[in-house]
């Protein structure tokens, strides 16, 4: 058992937050955690696109190789998932910018925001696929 005092400088024994496992999942918490998951997972898509750009800048043969992977069924699936992830992260981020203005912090509005983010992310993904 760790004993905490005012002068506790042992950073390694401090509890970590947020304690995901001890809360009952709710729309507000799950939709918030998904912002973090989508945001960090998008690094793989960034990696893929930058690799594709690098290949295009290098040579035609390298580009054809990278482009074949990016436009294969697996590549397209990764891009489609990333498209949903970026729109989800986008809407979730806007929600946080609104909350930072101390607007919509009551539970009812917060839950409505949650549904807007979830449903909106799918609608924007479908819209982007149709337009492009």
């Amino acid at each position: 058992m760790g004993e905490f005092t005012m002068a506790d400088t042992d950073q390694s024994n401090r509890p970590l937050s947020p304690h995901l496992t001890i809360y009952r999942p709710q729309l507000t918490s799950v939709s918030s955690i998904l912002i973090r998951i989508t945001g960090n997972a998008l690094i793989f898509c960034v990696f893929l696109i930058i690799w594709w750009l690098f290949a295009a800048a290098t040579s035609e043969q390298y580009f054809i190789f990278a482009d074949a992977i990016l436009t294969s069924w697996f590549g397209e699936l990764v891009l489609l998932c990333s498209l949903w992830a970026i729109w989800y992260h986008f809407l979730g981020g806007v929600r946080h910018l609104i909350w930072d203005r101390a607007i919509g912090l009551d539970l009812k509005t917060a839950e409505i925001f949650g549904w807007i983010v979830v449903i909106g992310s799918f609608l924007l993904t479908i819209l982007t696929v149709i337009l492009l």
């Binding site: 696109i49 295009a56 800048a57 910018l97 982007t128 492009l132």
Partner: protein, 111 residues
């Protein structure tokens, strides 16, 4: 009064980059979506044009800066001890590496 405190902390930097990305990301999605699937000559020609080159470069730099702040907060929340510092160094290295490779690629196609 302290003068050593940074004016922009994590949260503030996250906010600034997210506001910039609010405009950059839809522009980039539109640009990337319109060129992906085209052949080599078309792709190189596309990124040698001023606006695709500028918007893509800005999205890469600011997007990866935003990732650095976000991943750092993630690490601060879940990883402790010496692994904490190693994880932050790893995230920064990957992010700067991708940033430079991306800018190099755009520059090489643009000039």
């Amino acid at each position: 009064m302290s003068s050593s405190k940074p004016i922009f902390g994590h949260h503030s930097e996250m906010k600034i980059t997210s506001i910039l990305l609010f405009f950059l990301v839809p522009a980039f999605i539109f640009m990337f979506g319109s060129i992906v699937g085209e052949d080599y000559a078309a792709v190189v020609k596309y990124f040698s044009r001023p606006w695709p080159a500028i918007i893509t470069s800005l999205t890469i730099v600011i997007g990866l800066q935003h990732f650095q702040s976000g991943a750092q907060v993630l690490i601060e929340d879940y990883i402790r001890g010496s692994a904490h510092k190693l994880a932050i160094i790893f995230v920064k290295s990957v992010s700067y590496f991708l940033m430079v490779v991306g800018l190099y690629a755009i520059a090489r196609m643009a000039f």
